[in-house]
Symmetry: C2
Subunit: 335 residues, 2 copies
Amino acid sequence: MTRRPSVSLKTIAERAGVSTITASRALRGMPIVNEKTRRQITEIATSLGYVPNRIASSLRSQRSGLIALIVPTVAGSIFSETVEAISRRLVAAGYQTIIGESTYDIGQEQAVLESLVQRRPDAIIIAGTNHTPATRTILEALGIPVIEIWELTDTPVDSVVGFSNFHAAYDFTRALIEKGYRRFAMASGPVEQENRASLRADGHYKALAEAGIDPGAAIVIPHFLGILHSGQSLLAFVRDHPEIDCLFCTNELIAIGATVQCRRAGIDVPGDIAIVGFGDVEACSIIEPPLTTVHINGTEMGRNAAQLVLDRLGGRGAAGARIDVRYAFRWRGTA
Amino acid sequence: MTRRPSVSLKTIAERAGVSTITASRALRGMPIVNEKTRRQITEIATSLGYVPNRIASSLRSQRSGLIALIVPTVAGSIFSETVEAISRRLVAAGYQTIIGESTYDIGQEQAVLESLVQRRPDAIIIAGTNHTPATRTILEALGIPVIEIWELTDTPVDSVVGFSNFHAAYDFTRALIEKGYRRFAMASGPVEQENRASLRADGHYKALAEAGIDPGAAIVIPHFLGILHSGQSLLAFVRDHPEIDCLFCTNELIAIGATVQCRRAGIDVPGDIAIVGFGDVEACSIIEPPLTTVHINGTEMGRNAAQLVLDRLGGRGAAGARIDVRYAFRWRGTA
DNA sequence: TTGTAGGCGTTATCAA
DNA sequence: TTGATAACGCCTACAA
């Protein structure tokens, strides 16, 4: 670990006999620099192992090259497709994403935002459309592109890329009713703060109410419980409610856990009980039987969000964009 | 999007009738500041919506509060446990991780490193111990803590937290031989650059050679193919090699794909063929039958790596740490 | 307990 | 095509 006397533009400029600004221009590939000069400067920079200081650059240019991304969690694969898609595209354009986790809590979301904002990101991508008033104030005051994702709204802070969780659940439930299911129960993550789980629950219940069907029992599964542990709770729940013919889960991890544990306990899915999820991570397709669920295109959301950011930062496009990536039902083996 | 005339320490200091350095000290909670003064400054800062500029702070203090983390990919859940554990711990200590993806390529790893290093991270955590010479040079010249993870080595750049991929595969294969398997084949991701797949393959083959067992056929599955697609290739491979009694996979995703597709094709696992994986993502436990595999503790690696970083940055601990998180066999249903 | 002076490394701006 | 100057916002070092 050699503590190298760090080489800066000044060092290079001195050796090349030019001013620092010329060295800067040369290394940034600005065309106004004489080719011979540039070559010489580049060579010196290389031989000295020069590493540009993006911190200084950010401070002076007022552009950090950072994009803040806030999601509930990066664990568990639900959001990781989106995160991956966003990072890939932004990295290709020379940006670095900095990720914050709200842990499904808008208070924590605000704390995370306040922390990320100190690094002066050039844009923000944030999951969800329901935030604390303070969060909204901050987002609006920032004066940078803000893209909300994983939901739609008519009153975004700026732009939004997502789908209607409410309508997806509503439509899906209607389709299930049409299939003949009548005795529903719901399994969900914590329903609060107008989060995705609550919007999905609302859509589900609305469809049931319209059809005059009893909402049935409900069970709440804590976040981060793990698929098989969730499944154990759900198995107990299902056993306590033998009348259920369709267990509606507001996320796919819960549904996978329920399916696997019911099967292992000798309950026939979908024979004895149908189980459906919401969201379509890869694990949905590998269990037996594969899960019937609502497919959400996390990658497409990520790509669109990143593209919006790039457009805005490139001076193209305006605030107020609204992209609906829709959803699709995957009728597989569990219903 | 109000373009607020940004409020800096200077603004606050002026309103409070103190110098900027006093405002700085007050807001950083330095105890030497008079309590009354601090309260006043804090109030002004809050009312003005002051957001500290970490870029300026980083530049002046020479500490960015950034930890660079380089992994092959964050998709696919293999490394996400580790990433998650690292981020959680570092965030709690006030650091932000910036992630780079090497896409399983040491050339790309170098490119990513060169990019991240421009942001002057306070430490680096990097997966793997085999790097390009240039990468190693850069890491050594940086003069900051460097933690290599997901492998062990006697010649780390600095410190290392991992396990021996070679020995894990070697031991696992010996255990499989003891179980009675004799006709092996191997399925692996690209084997190159002394990566984890190649180290695991080496360990496997060494154990076979010592037992005088034929290495058998081998198939390479490209990265990022997807579990079920990989499984299709593997199903075809298995059908072409009916003599195999144990398919040794160098990662668990491949093994899951093989198991699922074989089962669906009516091949009995483990009756007709045993299938084993390496690594233990959650998906291993939800398939039928659940996968026999080598359990790797990604979370523990992450926690340890993060802790090493914090110790070093806190002035505790020294370079040269070596933490072996070991591995364990999980005998489940596929072998 | 508070303040002065200056610089971290880069780039915007204006001038030549 | 190149350069001089200054400034981005903060914090280190030293002084009072």
